[in-house]
Symmetry: C2
Subunit: 314 residues, 2 copies
């Protein structure tokens, strides 16, 4: 494995920045110190070339996104991210490609004070698996279960832009230039809502990140909570490149890759101060006792969802 070790040494090797890493990359395993009275929070997600990103996607964006989708999972738990491990499978030892991928990973890691503490490089079809680790004061994590009847359902930021960019990319749909650039940035460089997730501790009854689309992910939250909801399509905050039409709003509702947070808070919760810091937080619906997700169109009439989210078999 000398070749492997060279690649790791060049692209992965780094001294730990965080004081809570007694032993980082370079041994059989890393040693980490979880703060007292905290729970460890762990998530893993894989991106596969041709499935989660196009094969010609910039390696810098791939490195960013592989970490971003995992930090988004930690954000949805209200966790403080701390460490990550990276397993990179590449068809060849292209060091320029690997260096660009690691640069994208590292830039996001630094922004969130995350240390890369373990890695594995293997030869094979391009796949990248990141394990993100963080912590949360014991008992304070946000879960999917916990939404209560009467809760207001919010989504952060805007949704649908990544889906619009993907549709333009693979389906050839034309977007206005400015919107196209903004939407593409949302697809390639999603920003995990780490600070917002942390701020929602003690406030939100339940939370989930919008990776598979608002409809699908809100559906998971409602199912886990044993409740249902009505959602108003007209309230959905549309991202760049999403046409403000009934079809556009429906597409934004089921599009994936947004990595915003969807959460349930008590009906009277004042989120104005939070929105000042974390950007728009939009109320899109209300939790109800009857199971299932009901969607109302702009005219107040029920809208049928053919599929509740997009499926890409993973």
């Amino acid at each position: 494995m000398a070749a492997e070790f060279d690649l790791i040494a060049r692209c992965f090797a780094r001294a730990p920045r965080r004081a809570d890493v007694p032993l980082g990359i370079g041994d059989d395993a890393a040693l980490l110190t979880v703060p007292p009275r905290c729970e460890l929070v762990v998530a893993v997600d894989t991106l596969v070339a041709g499935v989660h990103f196009l094969a010609d996607c910039a390696p810098h964006a791939i490195g960013h996104k592989a970490l971003a989708v995992n930090l988004s999972d930690l954000a949805a738990m209200g966790a403080d991210p701390a460490w990550a491990l990276l397993a990179l499978t590449t068809p060849d030892l292209d060091e320029a490609w690997a260096a660009a991928c690691m640069a994208g990973f590292e830039a996001l890691a630094r922004r969130h004070d995350v240390d890369l503490v373990g890695g594995d490089t293997t030869r094979g079809p391009l796949t990248i698996t990141v394990t993100a680790l963080g912590h949360v004061p014991a008992g304070q994590a946000l879960r999917r279960a916990g939404a209560r009847v009467g809760d207001a359902i919010y989504v952060s930021g805007t949704v649908g832009a990544a889906g619009a960019a993907l549709a333009a990319q693979v389906g050839g749909a034309a977007l206005p230039d400015a919107a196209a650039i903004a939407a593409q940035a949302r697809l390639d460089y999603p920003q995990p809502r780490v600070a917002l997730g942390r701020a929602l501790r003690g406030l939100a009854h339940a939370a989930i990140d919008v990776s598979d689309g608002v409809a699908a992910d809100l559906g998971h939250m409602l199912t886990a909570s044993g409740v249902g909801a009505t959602l108003e399509l007209a309230a959905l905050p549309l991202g760049p490149g999403v046409p403000d039409t009934p079809q556009g709003r429906l597409a934004a509702l089921v599009a994936g890759d947004d990595y915003e947070l969807c959460f349930a808070v008590p009906p009277g919760a004042a989120l104005g101060a939070l929105a000042t810091v974390h950007g728009p937080l939009t109320r899109i619906g209300t939790v109800e006792a009857a199971a299932g997700l009901r969607v109302l169109g702009s005219d107040g009439a029920p809208v049928a969802l053919g599929r509740r989210g997009y499926e890409h078999h993973a």
Copy 2:
């Protein structure tokens, strides 16, 4: 992702067995409780079809081995394994295959009281990435660095059998029937030395697991420790299927996939009681001040290693 969720639900879903899992599979991330005054120990390793196992390898063995190689990393740190996450990329949603793979994973997980706490299934070329997590009393982990001049170098069990099985499989080399079965079992179902690693805490100055071959991995330990060593080829404990010839011993020295532990202990250390519990522990060499690994043949003459380990680009 409904298809994905179905697969996960069927193959991954399980209630946590361990009391230190406040939240297992099914949310954005898992919540885990690390015992007080312990360091978290984390490792990640990927197995790729056609690289780390043959495409027609039994899924049960693949599931076993994907966990085993990671538990072996924890064993080399002297850690107590506790949890694992599994990222499985498969070309299709073959549930029988996935169920068999998970059965192999789960059988080994139960044996070591490891809970699967997170998973991701994606469509793509067959790869399986496991993140293993455990803990060790703070400051007591075994590291690669720490071997001292004069230390005795030991290896557990026997080595070379997995390499012999692989050579027979891909190279057509004939093995006697009984040896072939035993060697194949070593290749397909490596047994991580978890209990031995734990027992070496406070005793070994340095340790590493033999995944890339004794020569390569001992080399990593020596480099990390800033020392060298002389190793006696005649002392190498040969596994089933390894011919007791100079060529056979040399092959066993550089063959990978053994997942035994190689460790350095003070020269006078008595390992008899340990060997009674954990099987043969064989002294194979001595740590010296001069950098590099020197190998002596059965006749006491130096043996040249063309390559210090086998390379499979990971």
